[in-house]
Structure formats: C-alpha cells, structure tokens
Symmetry: D2
Subunit: 255 residues, 4 copies
C-alpha cells in the first residue's frame, strides 16, 4: 500500500497580479513562472521529492521525506526572491489523488486563490518518519514508443505535439478517475505518474486504453521507493529495459 505525501503549491493571488495595474508582458510572465518552477524543482529535489509544473500557478509536488520546516524554508526563499509569494497545503493519502484532495482542502479553507489577504499559508502535516517504508511511493514513467522515428522526424512539430498531447489528456484523466493516480507531462514524449499500488495487468490495461482512445502507443517503467526520487530512478531504469527489449511494462512489479 502506497502512502504518498502531496504538496499543493499555489502562487498567491497570481491572476490579478498579472494584470495589475495593466496586463504584464507575456514573455516576462513565462520567464517568471518557469524559473519559479525550476527553483521549486531543485529545492524539492534536494530532499528527494518531485515537483511538476502542472498549471505553473498551481504546482503539485510529491514530498515524502520533507517535514514542515523544510517546506517553510522553501516558502521563505521564494518570498525573498520573487515579486509573488506562495502558499502550500500538504496532504496524505493511500492514493495520490486522496492526498491531493486533502492538500487542496487545506488551502481552500483559508480563502480563495485570488484572495488578497491569503498569503504564505502553510498547512497540513507530514509523514511520521517512523512510519515511512520503501514502498510509500510508486512512480510510473511512460513514454511514446519510437516517438522520434514515428512523429518528431516525420510530422511537423505541431502535429507531433497534438499526438502527444491527446495521449497525455487521455492518460491523465483515465489514471485519475479509475485509479487515483496523478500523471504529469514532463517534456518530450514523457509522462511521469504518481500511482497507488498498481500491477502489470493494470498498466497493460491503461496502455491499451490510451492506444484505443487516442491512438498513441505507450511503454512504461515502474518503480517503488520511500521518496519520489528513489521510485522515479527505478522507473527510469524500467523504461530503459522496455526500450532495449521491446517490452511494454517493466520494473519492480508483481505479476
């Protein structure tokens, strides 16, 4: 049974800020958002966690191994270096989706994402170190089989992007609604999903669903660990096996 700790990171009152006193230059907003995400990725990554850019103003992170002071230090650092501040809600759950529901509720109870007075909230509790196990996190790393040969080198760049995007949209909804997993596009043709404890037949069914719905063929490496990094590296190695051996599902899985 997985035991995922999820943190929702929300830029405080961001929408209104982007148009006050007048709409701000789009390329500055893009730079601001992507650098803020890059910093969070490094800071959370230093503790073995994973951050996903998601909507950029709402960033979802897997933070097993981080306590509340670790969160506070990151929040302070962003507040010292950016023109915006962030709030953080932490949740726990047997599935990643349940953990995120709790994390979201923490923030929503304190006010709207566009509430001028809700700033730098940090709420929720983290996993007790004594209860942590090597199977708290399951990461599934998907990619598109031969994406470069079939798409990138053949189609124009947007047509390739459409294929990948339709595959992702199908996968992220299906994995969430059917299994309580959270799937994130991470660039190229890669999707990293934080999953509950799923096994080979379930991953095969998921791949089949995406193929029949969006006509995109995926392979997946799966790993478990006490942190997102440990699980994620195992998943990456699983995916390398898929690439070498032409299999569809590899990793530390029961059959």
């Amino acid at each position: 049974m997985t035991n995922t700790q999820v943190t929702l990171i929300q830029i405080d009152n961001y929408g209104p800020w982007t148009v006050t006193p007048a709409p701000r230059r789009e390329t500055d907003l893009q730079t601001l958002q992507s650098r803020l995400f890059a910093d969070l990725s490094q800071q959370i990554g230093a503790h073995g966690g994973y951050a996903f850019f998601t909507r950029f103003d709402n960033i979802i992170a897997v933070t097993n191994g981080m306590d509340v002071p670790d969160h506070a230090r990151i929040q302070e650092s962003i507040g010292n270096r950016y023109p915006v501040t962030i709030s953080m809600g932490i949740g726990l759950g047997e599935t990643p989706a349940e953990a995120l529901v709790e994390a979201t509720t923490r923030l929503q109870e304190q006010g709207s994402a566009q509430d001028q007075d809700r700033r730098e909230v940090l709420l929720g509790s983290t996993l007790n170190p004594t209860e942590r196990t090597d199977e708290d996190i399951q990461i599934a790393h998907f990619d598109v089989i031969d994406a470069t040969g079939k798409y990138t080198d053949q189609l124009d760049a947007f047509s390739t992007f459409i294929h990948i995007e339709q595959g992702y949209a199908t996968l992220m909804r299906h994995l969430h609604d059917e299994y309580g997993g959270l799937a994130f596009f991470v660039g190229g043709d890669n999707v990293i999903a934080v999953c509950p404890e799923l096994e080979t037949p379930e991953y095969e069914a998921i791949i089949e669903h995406v193929e029949s719905t969006a006509n995109v063929t995926l392979q997946v490496g799966v790993g478990a660990g006490s942190t997102a990094h440990d699980a994620g590296m195992a998943a990456k190695h699983g995916l390398e096996v898929c690439r070498e051996e032409g299999t569809r599902v590899e990793g530390s899985l029961a059959d």
Copy 2:
C-alpha cells in the same frame, strides 16, 4: 492576411543525452528544461517575439521582427551556457501552421532530432523588413470563464487541471485542423493562440466547439500587430474587456 514567421527550436539529441551514461536525475532535467525555455522566452521576447514551451525539447516561437543573425546570437548564447545545444528552423506562411511545416522541414532535412552529428543547425529565411505590416500576426488569448470560482476554489487541484487540460486538448486540435492556428497552454487557465486572420463568428464557433466537446467555457481577446508582443498585448486588453463586460469575444476584429 497574416504573415507569420515561426521558428522551431529543437534541443539536439536530447533524449539520448538524458539517459547517458545512465538516466539523469529528473529534477535536474526539469530545472534544465524550464530554465532553457525561460532564457529563450526572454531572448526572443527582447525582439518582440513569443516562445512557447510546447514539449520543452521542441519549442515553437513566433519570431516576426528577428533576422537570422538575431537567431544565431541566441543559439550561441545557449551553447555557451548549457550542456546541450539547440538547432533552429525558420518558416514563413500565410497560416501559422504552414509556417511551422516549413520550419520543421528545414530541420528534418538535416537529420534526426536524435542524430549525434546534427548540432546547432540554423536554417530558413526571415521576413523582408520592407514587406512587414501591422497585421502580420493575429494573437488570440483565451481563458476559462471564472476558472477560480468554478474550479480552483471548488475542486481538488487535479480535477481542476483535468478540466483545463481537456479544454486545451480540444482547442489545440480543433484550431490547428480547421484553421491552421497554433494554440499553446501558457499556465493557469490561459491559452495563447497564433492564428490566421479569423473573425468574430469563427471565434464564437471555436468557443462553442470547445464547450460542447469538453464542457469548458472560454472567452477570448484578439489582437493584431507586426510582432507577437504587439498583437499579444492587444489580445490581453481584449480579454480584460471580456472580463469586465461579460462578453465572449473582444478585440480588433471585423464583425
């Protein structure tokens, strides 16, 4: 008639690099990708252009106003500061989609995105300054009506994300396949599209299509200009009018 100059920016041989000699730490890759994009956004933005993160290893930019040496300087700067290099293909077309087909072809003719020997290619020609007009670019800036009130403050963060993502997946495919426009998710609930010359009834039809297909209700501000920045700022102001007046389509449009 629009006259869009599109540049496809591709990280050279990126997929293989990320797993050589072994899979690299995911949070480092995320930081690398998002900072590389942030730099391109600033550098292209300094010339009035727009860069979209797209797949991060394949970044699409609207570069009206930039010549080939401007591209070369950015390419050199990335090569000097990152462990990876970029290739660039430039294309022109009456629709943004056509321009991107040309830009993509330039790169594909030089070799695969995963070809070790294809490095720092820069091909294609740019608009003649004497032929540029104030209507070369049309930008449509979409967002979801009351996304904060209806989704962000009500649903958990992933359920909100699913809604926005399904809306985007529908919009980007429809706009491309029916009109030759290129739509990019830019964070929050915002999508910026580079369009051919479309008018109010067409935008109304597009919004209706997304609503009936993905159950997400959009509004849109539209602007024209000689650069992406000029058109984009006009589009942002149009969107502000939508927000204030409760209308669906605003901006510099024929009726």
Copy 3:
C-alpha cells in the same frame, strides 16, 4: 577619441529592503543579486553592451548601441520578475569616468539610493546613431601571467585570492585616477577595463605600476569597436596573442 556611453543601474532602496521587516536570509540575497546581474548581463549583452557586477546593487554597464527604449524594456522586465526595481542613469563622455559621473548625477538629482519614493527612474540621453564610430570604445582585458601555475596550484585558495584582489585594487584605482578608465574584476584572474584612448607605452606603465605596488604581473589585450562586445572580443584575441608569444601588451594599438 573614445565616446563611451555608460549606464549606472541602481537597485531602488535595496539596503533597507534587505532588513525589512527583519534581516533576510543571506543566501537568498546572494542568489537574488547574482541572478539579477546575470539577467542584466544577458539583456545588455544582446545589444552588444557589457554589464559589470561592481557592487551588485550598483551595476555599471557600457551601453553604446542601446537607446532609451532599449533601457526601458530591460527596466520593465526586471520590475516584472523581481521583488525589487531598478533605476537607470545614462551618461556620455570622452572618458568612461566622465560618462559615469554624468550617469550618477542623473540618479542623485532624483533622490537618494535609499529614498522610498525614487523608483524606476530612467534618465539621460544616448548616443546619436549618426555620430557613432568604430573607435567609440576601447576595452583592455588584463589577466595575471601564469596565475594557475604560480598561485592557484601552489597557494591555498585565499592566499591566491589576496594576490589577485590586491592587484585589482591597485589597478582599478590607478586607472581611474590617472586615466579616467573603469576597471572591473570579472572572475578568475581577469580584469576588464573600459578605457579612454590609451596606447602601448601607457599600458606598459600601468602594468609596471601594478607590479611595483602590488607585486602582481599582468598582461593585457586591447581592442576598439563601436560596441563593448566588438572592442572586448578584439581585446580577448589580443590577450591570446600575449599568452602565445609571451608579450605583455597586444591588440589594435598605435606604438
């Protein structure tokens, strides 16, 4: 005769901000300052200019080739992405020192660097494009002869640093007070100086002064150009000649 355009960039009210409401974490300040400088270096560099970190809250730049709107765009971009804002004063002069006096006066007339109400000032005028020449800028790129062999690989890192720092302190004062040049430590054992029109005997005298005063032996490459970048690249090539041939002063100089 050189014709240097110098811009003084000052972070507005920075000292008080760093301790409000309480002293901020030093490593965040260091990150903020060095990234802000890095952005300015890129943005000014895109126009062929040079920015020097100087005191970090007072950054001096050589901006031949940039007009006032170019400055305004950079000022806006920093204001959109940092928790602090910058003011800019532009000056012209036959010597770099005179140009900086004018640039500084522009800002001082508007209020103190620690005035809460002096924000985002941008004053001064730039070179008329028709008056620009290929000899407007002279750059001298100094380094310490065999610094790695004599210092870095022999002494402990701070003792090496002391040598380099004493050499720099001597050079920067002498060049300013005797010639009206502005010398900046740029890392390693390198100093880049923006000079008036000096010739070989004067560079020889400068090197001798530093040797006799601080016991550090320098070599120098010199270049001229219409921008800092053009002059600076010529200077770098001159320095490569010094390294190869064991000479002390090389570049585009009268004898």
Copy 4:
C-alpha cells in the same frame, strides 16, 4: 574555539574552456558564472551553509552541517545542468584559514585546476555530527558607516566603489594574515567574514586598522552558531544594533 568546515569549489579546467575553440562571448561567461554561483548559494544555503563568489571559478563555502553525500548531490546537479563541472575539496581547522588550506590541498594533490583529466573530484571529510557545537562558527558582518549618505549619494559610482574596494582589500588581507579569518565582499558595502574566536577588542583593532590604512570606517555585528546561517543571522542582528545605537561592535561577544 571555532571548528569551521570549509569547502573549496573549483570549476574544472575553466580557463581553457573559456577560450576553446575561440574566446567565448564575455556576457555569456558572466551569466554562466553568476548563475552557477547563485545555484550553489541556494543549494548550500538549504543546508545552513554559506557560499561566497570569491573568484567565481574558485568559490569558497562554509559547510558545517553538510556531509559528503550532500556535497555529491550538488556536484551531480551542477554537472547535469551546466557545460562545465566542479571539483570539491573539504577541510577542517581551528581557524577558517587552516580549514581552507586543507581543502585546497585536497584538490591540488589531484592535479591542476587546468588539468583536462581532473574532473568532479570530491575529497575530504566532514565534521562528525556528535562533535558539533553551537560555537563552531563565528561570523562577522561588516559594513561601511553611512555609506549611502557619505559615498553613494555624494560621489560618482566608481569613486564610491574605489573606497569600498580599498577598504575590503585592506580588511581581507589583514584579517587573514593576522587572525586566520576569511573575509568576502558580498555586495553593496557589506563584507561577511568567517572568523576564529575573536572578541570585542580585536574587532575594534581591526576596524581601526582599516580606518587608518584605507580611510574607510566600518561597524560590525558578530554571531556564533553551529552553522553559517545561524551565526550569520546573529551577526546581522548585531549589525542592526550598531546602526540603531551608533556603536561599532555588537553581538554575542565576550568583553
């Protein structure tokens, strides 16, 4: 008695890289160096340490609280994201200067800073956690009394810089040669020094030496702690007391 852990961070073979195959654009080098330092400052700061930019290609850090795997993770992260790699030597000592001698020796024994084959060295051992105390680090935070009123708002920017630079050059040499302390300019008119256990009369003598030698008048806040951050925050608060009360030396000191 202090017990400082110092890490010397050296960019591998940096000098040759900057001119291979030809001199690289200076503004790219400046951006690369200052961003690399900014990242180290964040990464080391996350563990309570301090990094000082020093020569940029040789960065000195106080790393009490970090073990060897913490260092390795940072080294890997830089290697994954920059076109250059870093080596690290760690040293311990009763004075900071002694610790740095040890740290430097670790690297020098492995080869030159310009040795093509010496890459990503990580050597030395860190403090045993059981031996750490709340007085392992002493930080002295100096600034120039009324620098804004006397210099920044009165003199031109370079003349102000000369004063601050001469004061720093005097202080850094004196503190090193007489006491074994390491002083670093950190921007504005601020110098942060890592010291052995000094007391009020010694700080008064240091200030007097700088005043009589370089004609710059300093004040100083002093703090102790088990990490650079803890000691440094106490020092900052001491400096605030100096500013409010017009005293010269404040902090957690014996008389």
